[in-house]
Subunit: 290 residues, 2 copies
C-alpha cells in the first residue's frame, strides 16, 4: 500500500500539464528521494519493495515521457545494491542517487542548450512549438545575441504562454501565433528548434501534438528542423514504443454535443526523415539521410 | 457620404468572423439590394454614384473573400445600364439583380454540394478544417449515407463548433480535435474536404489558416485533398492576389507581454499541387499535375 502522501505526489506527476518531460522526471526523482528517506518500513527489504513499486507507479503515469522512464529506471536499478546495506544507509544512498540523477539531468539540459547555441549562432529567428526546457535554456543563452522567436500558443492548455512570458522578460522580440498559422510563419524563421518528450531509436521524435505539422511545413519551405533534448530522452530499440497520452477532453472547453467525440491526444510522432539534426549534451548529430 | 445605416452594415460585413465567404457575399448583396431601394438621391446619376461607391467599400472590407469581390463586381457592372432608366426603375432593376445573384450563389453552393456527394459517395469519413457552407451542404446530403466527420476547432474563434453543432443535430458521428492534432487524425479519413474563400487562377486555395498544414499532412498520408466551392470564388489571372486578412490579436486572448507581437492572420494559401481536385457547381476538375 502506498502511503497517502505519495499517492498525492503520484497524482501531481500524472496531472501536470505544464512541465516538460525532463522537468517532470526531476520532480519525480525528488519525490523518490523523499520516499527513500521517509518510506515506512521495518526492514531494508520492505523498504526496497515499497520504493521500487512507487518508482514503477510514478514512471507509468507518463508513458510518453521517456526521461521519466529512463531516470527512474536508473534510480531503481541501484536499489538492489542499496538493499545490501542497513536500512539507514540504504535510505541515504538512494536519496543521494536521486539527487545525483537530478543534477546530471539538469547539467545535460544546460549542456544541450550550449550545443544548440553553438550550432545556431547569433542573430537568428527561431520558431518553436509548445514549451521545452531545453529550448528555453537555449533561448537564455542566445538572448543577448540578437535572437528573435516565433512561438505557438500550443492548444489546448497553451504552454506557449509560459515561453512567451520568459522571452518577454528577457526582451527577446517574439511573435506569438496560433498553431493554425504555422505554415504562414515558418518561412520567416532561420530554423525550427523543438524539444522532445521522447526520441525513438530510429530518431523519430515524440513531442507535443502539432510538432509533426511544423516539421512538414519546415520541409516544404526548406527551413532546417532541429530536435534538442538530453540523451535520457532517447529510447532503446528494445523499448516498447510509448503510448501517445490522451488527456481529458474537457480541456478543449466545448459543450457535450451528442454524437461528437472530443479527442485530446497530447503527442505526435515526427518521423526521423523530417529532422535535420538531433542535439543532445554530447553534441550534434546530423541526419545523414537528408 | 455614406448614410449612417449603411456604415453600420459595412461594419457588420467587416467584423463578421462567423460566416464564410459565400454567405457574406450574399449578405452583402442583400445590403446592396436595400441600398438600391433606399439610397437617398435626387437623380439617378447621384443614386448610381452612391450605391456604386457603397458596393466598392463593402467589397474592400473583405479582400480575401473573392465571392464578395466577384458578386458585388457583377452587381456593380449592371449599374450603368440601370442608370439609363428613370430613378424608380433603376432602383427596382438593381434590387432584382441583387436578389438574382443571391439566388444564383445559393444554387451554386447547393449544386456544388451535389457534385461533392456524387464524387465521394456513401460510407466515408471526411476531415475538414474551419467552417464552409459548401462542406456543410455536402454533409447534409451525405448524412443519411453513413457519413462520419473529423472537424477541427479552428482557432482563434473556433468556427469548428458551429459545424460540430450541425453534425451533432444530424446524428453524424463526429470527432472534434484541435488543429495541433491534424496529423494524428488525417490518416483516419478517406478524404479531406475543405471550402475556400478564394481560388487563385492557378488553383491555389485561400482558406482559413491551417488549411495548408492539413494539405501537407494529407499528402504525407496519401489522403485525397479536395477543395469545394462555387465558381464565384475563382479569381482571374489578372486579378491582384488578395491580401491575407489579419484580424484583431485580442482574439487570441493573451496578455500584452512587452516585446511580444501577437499575430492573427486568418487565411493561408494551399498550393495547387497539394490539391487533388476542385469541385464547383459545374463539376469536378482533377489535378492533372498529381
Amino acid at each position: 500500500m502506498i502511503p497517502t502522501e505519495f499517492n498525492r505526489k503520484i497524482a501531481e506527476i500524472r496531472d501536470d500539464r505544464v512541465r516538460g518531460a525532463s522537468e517532470l522526471a526531476r520532480r519525480a526523482l525528488e519525490i523518490l528521494g523523499q520516499a527513500a528517506r521517509e518510506w515506512p518500513a521495518a526492514t531494508v527489504e520492505e523498504w526496497r519493495e515499497g520504493v521500487s513499486a512507487l518508482s514503477v507507479e510514478v514512471a507509468e503515469t507518463r508513458p510518453s515521457m521517456t526521461p521519466v522512464r529512463n531516470l527512474l529506471g536508473r534510480w531503481r536499478n541501484g536499489l538492489e545494491r542499496d538493499a545490501t546495506m542497513g536500512l539507514d544507509a540504504a535510505r541515504q544512498a538512494a536519496t543521494e542517487r536521486a539527487q545525483a540523477l537530478i543534477e546530471r539531468s539538469s547539467r545535460a539540459v544546460a549542456e544541450c542548450a550550449s550545443r544548440v547555441a553553438e550550432l545556431l549562432g547569433p542573430h537568428r529567428t527561431l520558431m518553436t512549438h509548445s514549451f521545452s526546457s531545453t529550448v528555453l535554456a537555449s533561448c537564455r543563452l542566445l538572448k543577448g545575441a540578437g535572437l528573435r522567436m516565433i512561438v505557438t500558443e500550443s492548444r489546448p492548455l497553451e504552454e506557449g504562454r509560459r515561453l512567451a512570458e520568459h522571452l518577454s522578460s528577457w526582451k527577446v522580440p517574439t511573435v506569438y501565433i496560433t498553431e493554425a498559422q504555422m505554415a504562414l510563419f515558418v518561412a520567416r524563421a532561420d530554423a525550427v528548434l523543438v524539444g522532445a518528450d521522447s526520441v525513438l531509436a530510429d530518431g523519430s521524435a515524440i513531442n507535443k501534438a502539432g510538432t509533426s505539422l511544423l516539421a512538414l511545413a519546415a520541409r516544404e519551405w526548406r527551413i532546417p528542423f532541429y530536435v534538442a533534448c538530453e540523451s535520457f530522452k532517447w529510447r532503446e530499440a528494445s523499448d516498447p514504443p510509448p503510448e501517445l497520452e490522451e488527456m481529458d477532453p474537457s480541456e478543449l472547453k466545448v459543450p457535450a454535443w451528442p454524437g461528437v467525440t472530443v479527442r485530446n491526444i497530447y503527442f505526435d510522432v515526427t518521423p526521423a526523415r523530417l529532422i535535420g539534426a538531433w542535439i543532445d549534451e554530447t553534441g550534434v548529430r546530423r541526419n545523414a539521410a537528408q
